[in-house]
């Protein structure tokens, strides 16, 4: 039976925030967004401090039809 490797010897110390970005050929980095884990309940969150479109958000809810999804 496979052992659930949840101890520090396997994963090492984790972090509560990560910056997702891309590294260019000249070693410069573009920061895109961040992913984190909440300290209170370990939920995950994704946030967007780096984009240039301040004040222009649109948020919504839409229906996904799994039968017609490409």
């Amino acid at each position: 039976m496979a052992k659930a490797l949840s101890d520090e010897s396997v994963l090492g110390g984790g972090q509560d925030q990560f910056t997702v970005g891309i590294r260019h050929d000249n070693d410069s980095i573009t920061r895109l967004f961040k992913i984190g884990y909440a300290r209170n309940d370990c939920s995950y969150f994704v946030f967007f401090p780096y984009h240039p479109y301040r004040g222009k958000a649109v948020l919504g809810k839409f229906i996904v039809n799994y039968a017609r999804r490409e």
């Binding site: 490797l5 984790g14 997702v20 895109l32 992913i35 969150f45 946030f47 948020l59 919504g60």
Partner: protein, 214 residues
């Protein structure tokens, strides 16, 4: 679309959160949020029982104007040589998957010291190698996020600007044709169509949006 809302948030403070209970919402940045509030939210799968497919997807049409300052915290970097979005190369799509903690047995360390996990995406059976975002030790008994990136071609006439984020689905049901339906949330910048309502917190109409689920 079931709902289209707009925000004038100038802080870039809006975030997507997927809570332990499965409650998924956008919050922060002065927008209305929290269970039972008229925010943008859906009840999806609990983190203790994740689904095999992507938990969220970020589609970036252009990186023009993004910050190039040094990264202060832990970086999760993809090579720009193959993944910079342009009209010629396509849209950069970064998908996040959520795994139960038992899946740590299937993670591996690369020669570069990155922890990765390989999966087949259920929708198209494509093999993916994802970068594991190892959580703090206090969260090991729940699960972890892993991400991958790829470029998808775009139509030649498609406008290249901004980005949008979609979430895991909730409220699963079947229609009259017995097709499975679900509700997903979206956050996009800049605004490409007019919102039907404002979601910015207004003290005249709503109670403060800070909740235990924020």
């Amino acid at each position: 679309m079931l709902d289209i809302a707009g925000s004038e948030d100038e802080s870039n403070g809006i975030k997507l959160s997927h809570h332990r209970s499965g409650f998924v919402q956008f919050s922060g940045g002065g927008i209305i949020s929290g269970p039972g509030k008229p925010g943008v939210q859906v009840q999806s799968w609990p983190l203790s029982k994740p689904v095999p497919g992507p938990a969220f997807s970020v589609s970036i049409l252009s990186i023009e104007g993004y910050s190039k300052k040094a990264i202060a915290d832990v970086a999760c970097l993809f090579p720009g040589s193959g993944l910079t979005p342009t009209r010629e190369t396509g849209v950069l799509i970064i998908e996040g998957f959520y795994f139960p903690w038992e899946a740590t047995t299937h993670t591996q360390l690369t020669d570069e010291g990155e922890r990765v996990i390989s999966v087949r995406r259920p929708s198209d059976e494509k093999a993916l190698q994802l970068k594991v975002l190892t959580p703090p030790a206090t969260c090991w008994n729940l699960g972890f996020v892993a991400v991958h990136a790829n470029l998808e071609p775009i139509n030649a006439d498609q406008k290249m600007e901004g980005f949008f984020v979609t979430t895991s689905t909730g409220n699963l049901r079947r229609n009259d044709a017995d097709e499975m339906l679900g509700d997903s949330l979206v956050l996009g910048y800049p605004r490409v169509f007019p919102p039907r309502r404002s979601i910015d917190y207004s003290p005249q109409n709503h109670s403060p949006n800070k909740t235990s689920e924020d």
